[in-house]
Symmetry: C2
Subunit: 301 residues, 2 copies
């Protein structure tokens, strides 16, 4: 056991945000705008958004570090003993919405949380993960995505990847559609064993693994020609993203219901979305293949 | 006190759905498609949608009548004594998304609920209302909308309109934006006094009042010329509609979380929606006027 080094976590997160923005910007050509903001209760953040790029219709990459003297009870529903403690929460969270429907949407998040009370050991944990949401599936991409996830987990134990892969599949499930949001990846939370250094290393591996998992897929698909049909399907499927985030995603709901910065939280919303009553893909079409071959939970590696 | 006449309520609701569809179709020229569906636990519905009309980009008008032997506890959170009783729930619910941004979006709903237990008096109530969501506000339209609502309430008592107008304003509030969804109208629930006939009459007045409130506004605005700027703003503001319905609307959430028919529930989603990070209307613009002069709660009559 060792003491959590909050400063080191923050430095890592700020650097991660920089790196991810630089690399997305480099591949696209467009630049990120930045808003710095402060939270009334304590702390603030750095929201960055790239819009109307050649490859990315929108990419939002947020850093935030908020703290307060007394944690609201609603923030610790599953650990009521932490209510009222002083706390720190920091993280990087991003969603990338590509223009080309052959390039999948991606999401990543890494976060650290700590609650303190005079005279007590601090309580802390890490969480995070990344997941992929294709519109048109490619087996090669799905395998690369999951292999990258598996490889970064390997040094931390054989059971890590299967556990966090399943957690991701369980989490990104749209109950009212009986559908996965995408093809999954990694999701972990409440990570605080065996010690801080180990957990921090794992969180860094996940944060750093995201670009390694995503960029080769972007490179492979970014020049594929697409038309109105593919765009229509992409906009329709983006509706599922909205439905998941607004109806089921605990982070989004918690943020919106407790006075988080709405514009930063809803940077995850796609720039353009379509709903169509009772849409069904044509049998045997590439759109049907997404539902049949990619969305059902599968072991890709 | 008199016995609830479920059959009469159902006949009224079916007829209301017919009338509304006929009139919307008559003004637009396009026709409604119908899906009849059945619910596994008992009952079913009749979902109707008009799409790609000259005036209405989409109009969804649903009738449903569901029943069961044992009400789920989740359905009666605020009246736990009703859990396990046999129940009937029926209603008409509609959302109209016009193409022309000068024509406001409208929503209406009327519903009846009854729970029974052998040896006990049945417990029943009515609910409903209608509300308007303009993109570009017109004082004349707002006054007409609210006057129609007031006039239909008048025969039921002087206090009815102010009470249900306020309930509507309170309900259609988007907390995470600190904004009203639109300019309001009427909202009522749990109505079961003084007796069935009185309540049923009021529900009929609300159901019949919707077209009277909405159609003159459609007629006045449908031919106004509009361009990309107005369309962009309409699509952006539709995002607020999605946010309200998926994050805050109890009916939508309850339906999605308890296995309701997803396609019918989400017929309320706009056909096309836009999100834009940190959008602010230009000062002094017609878009700014919506936020300044129309969305804040106001007495229009």
């Amino acid at each position: 056991m060792n003491t959590p080094d909050i400063h080191a976590v923050k430095q890592f997160l700020l650097h991660l945000q920089d790196t991810i923005c630089q690399q997305l910007s480099a591949i696209d050509g467009a630049t990120f705008e930045e808003d710095s903001w402060q939270r009334e209760g304590g702390g603030g953040g750095r929201s960055r958004v790239l819009r109307g790029g050649a490859i990315f219709e929108q990419a939002g990459v947020n850093f935030s570090h908020v703290h307060g003297d007394a944690m609201p009870a609603s923030a610790t529903a599953h650990r009521p003993e932490l209510a009222g403690r002083s706390f720190e929460a920091m993280g990087v969270s991003l969603v990338v919405h590509p223009l080309n429907p052959y390039v999948p949407t991606s999401h990543a998040n890494v976060r650290f949380f700590m609650a303190e009370k005079p005279g007590c050991e601090p309580v802390w944990w890490f969480g995070g993960g990344f997941d992929l949401t294709p519109f048109y599936g490619f087996e090669e991409d799905a395998i690369h995505w999951h292999k990258t996830a598996r490889d970064l987990c390997q040094p931390f134990g054989e059971d890590v990847f299967p556990r966090y892969k399943k957690w991701c599949d369980d989490y990104f499930f749209i109950k009212h559609r009986n559908e996965q949001r995408g093809i999954g990846g990694l999701f972990f939370d409440d990570l605080n064993t065996p010690d801080f250094d180990h957990c921090f290393s794992f969180m860094q591996a996940v944060g750093n693994g995201y670009l390694e998992a995503y960029l080769p897929i972007v490179e492979r698909r970014k020049a594929l020609p697409w038309g109105e049909r593919e765009r229509d399907f992409q906009l329709y499927r983006r509706g599922r993203y909205v439905e998941f985030n607004l109806v089921w995603d605990r982070g989004t709901l918690f943020g919106l219901q407790t006075g988080g910065r709405t514009e930063s939280i809803l940077m995850s919303m796609p720039p353009l979305v379509r709903w169509e009553y009772s849409y069904q893909p044509e049998e045997g079409s590439p759109e049907a293949a997404l539902y049949r071959d990619f969305l059902p939970v599968k072991d890709w590696v």
